[in-house]
Subunit: 211 residues, 2 copies
């Protein structure tokens, strides 16, 4: 298909497609004339993925580049592949490296060790967790192991399901693509369902139906 | 305390405190002279809350204003109070109102009705969920009731715990403040733990320890 049809079918403006081509996010089409190129379903799929990462993931260009690189790089083993993709999602946290941070970071390490979870020392999610806990404590909100345990339990149940569902007979690129898109898009799904469930539980507790 | 001490103890620059005062986010201190005012622990607590909403919640000024208004408004009942605060958190989704959106929105409604959850028709989280599902489907990712059910189950378990934990004997303002801060700050906690759990489950499945 020509770039005009690619634009129509993907819903991405031609100028944006040309930008992705220039930035190397989208591989070039097959040139059929000096100013004409043919695109195929692979371009369409990749374009939809980029669009999801931009519009839903709100990811900066550098993270999108790293994720697409991991999608294309067949040298990484499955665990390394998933890790590279997930770590590219960030978030980029610059720890203040003060005493409060260090103390909380140590508690996060102890909590994860206690759960027996195998995660690297440089996983971005460690810092993400530490940052939230530092702020909770600064606000005087309880944020110890007792508070974290229900969240860790829910997270472990979901992760077992998510990782168990991965079909390793699928092409490795499709597999990573699916996991990245799934991670970026299922986080808002989970958050949305948590908020809806809170409203429901609040209704049950504080606004029982009149009988 | 003077504004200089308030700044030191909260970690918020004096210029930012003055900006919050001008915007009415922070109530004025008690004037002790033409250019001098005394602040107290209430100011310190409110400042820490605003800071958390800005830095951790990444919330725009309008949302912060609505949340602080709900914190201060004693006329709302508990369920309405929690709802106002949660809805102020957004997200603000502008639905395209096309056929694809409408179809997915209907499926969200049917899914929630099936769960028996009591949520208003205008809950922002409905649109948040619809938006994520529209994108998932556009990318050809499975996103039906079968995929959603584990997330809904985890969300319900957590929400029961969160809402059950609310101490209704606490002052209503502290209660709302706690719930808002808890919502804004425990979402990144949950997401961080989900990512760490995924890494652990991926390690278990794809990188078993050598024996």
């Amino acid at each position: 298909m020509l770039i005009s049809e690619l634009s129509r079918r993907s819903g991405v403006p031609i100028a944006t497609i040309k930008y992705y081509l220039r930035e190397g996010l989208l591989p070039p089409g097959e040139a059929t004339a000096a100013t004409r190129a043919e695109y195929d379903d692979l371009h369409l799929g990749r374009l939809r993925l980029i669009r999801a990462l931009v519009e839903v993931g709100n990811l900066p260009l550098a993270a999108i580049r790293r994720i697409l690189g991991a999608v294309d790089n067949e040298d990484l083993d499955v665990h390394g592949l998933l890790g590279t993709a997930q770590y590219a999602l960030g978030p980029k946290v610059d720890p203040p490296e003060d005493e409060e941070w260090q103390e909380t970071s140590d508690q996060v390490d102890a909590f994860l060790a206690d759960l027996g979870w195998r995660v690297t020392s440089f996983a971005p999610a460690r810092k993400m967790l530490t940052q939230a806990l530092v702020t909770l404590r600064r606000l005087g909100m309880p944020a110890g192991a007792d508070q974290l345990r229900p969240y860790a339990g829910a997270a472990e149940t979901l992760a077992r399901e998510e990782i168990g569902r991965i079909d390793t007979s699928a092409p490795r690129s499709a597999l990573v693509e699916g996991v990245v898109v799934g991670t970026v898009l299922y986080e808002p799904v989970l958050i949305a369902l948590c908020r809806l469930a809170q409203e429901h539980q609040s209704a049950l507790r504080f606004a029982p139906p009149r009988s």
